[in-house]
């Protein structure tokens, strides 16, 4: 089964020493990529390149990103992200737009999200509590995630 890689999963993979507690996320990200089962949300491409050290580093990061399928953030996904943000707000949780775009992408294509960002713990709760007609229905984390 495919997995959507959050930007945080790629950050811990790209660092020489992943932060304590995220080693499993880095290993899972590498495993999913090598197995050809990794997908990206388009916002992740932008976020990663914001953090590139210089042009040479950007070139190396881009070379890896070009090997991974990217799900475009179109009108349908924007609508779903908006509905998920609205439902989260009603539940007393505010999620940044990049998080919503990535969560919506995972729900839209029906795959789990691999992440090291603790903000997605709230999304995991919303997904677990969602009814079939709710925007968050189907959102789940890849078992390799670390959001504690």
């Amino acid at each position: 089964m495919a997995t959507l890689l959050d930007t945080s999963a790629l950050i811990v993979l790209l660092r020489r020493r992943p932060p304590r507690g995220t080693e499993g996320v880095a290993a899972a990200a590498e495993d999913r990529i090598r197995a050809g089962r990794a997908l990206l949300a388009s916002v992740t491409v932008a976020e990663l390149l914001v953090g590139a050290r210089d042009e040479e580093a950007e070139s190396r990061v881009s070379a890896l990103l070009e090997k991974l399928p990217v799900v475009a953030f179109d009108r349908d996904l924007a609508t779903l992200a908006g509905r998920m943000g609205r439902d989260a707000r009603r539940a007393g949780r505010v999620l940044p737009l990049p998080d919503l775009a990535i969560a919506a992408t995972a729900v839209w294509i029906g795959v789990p999200l691999l992440t090291a960002d603790s903000d997605f713990a709230a999304g995991s709760v919303l997904g677990a509590q969602a009814q079939p007609t709710d925007a968050w229905h189907g959102f789940e984390l890849d078992p390799g995630s670390a959001v504690g």
């Binding site: 660092r15 990663l48 953090g51 950007e58 007393g92 990049p98």
Partner: protein
Amino acid sequence: MQIMNGENMRTTLDIDRNLLERAKTALGASTYTEAIERSLSRAVEQAEVDALLNSLRGEDLVWSLDDLRAWRQVSHGDAP
């Protein structure tokens, strides 16, 4: 002998027939040529990804997970 025709090449290969049949079935290829091309394409793609992952230097990004979280929170205040 090799005969070049545009981007394609005709040549003679000594291939395990059983392996070729398995590849044709597993890959859903309709011809031996398609099975070989798909197999090569996958192998090359996999090798290129492996090489990219193995070349990671750990210094390509200037930010950490905390930087990412902070960046994501920039435009997000308290829940209205």
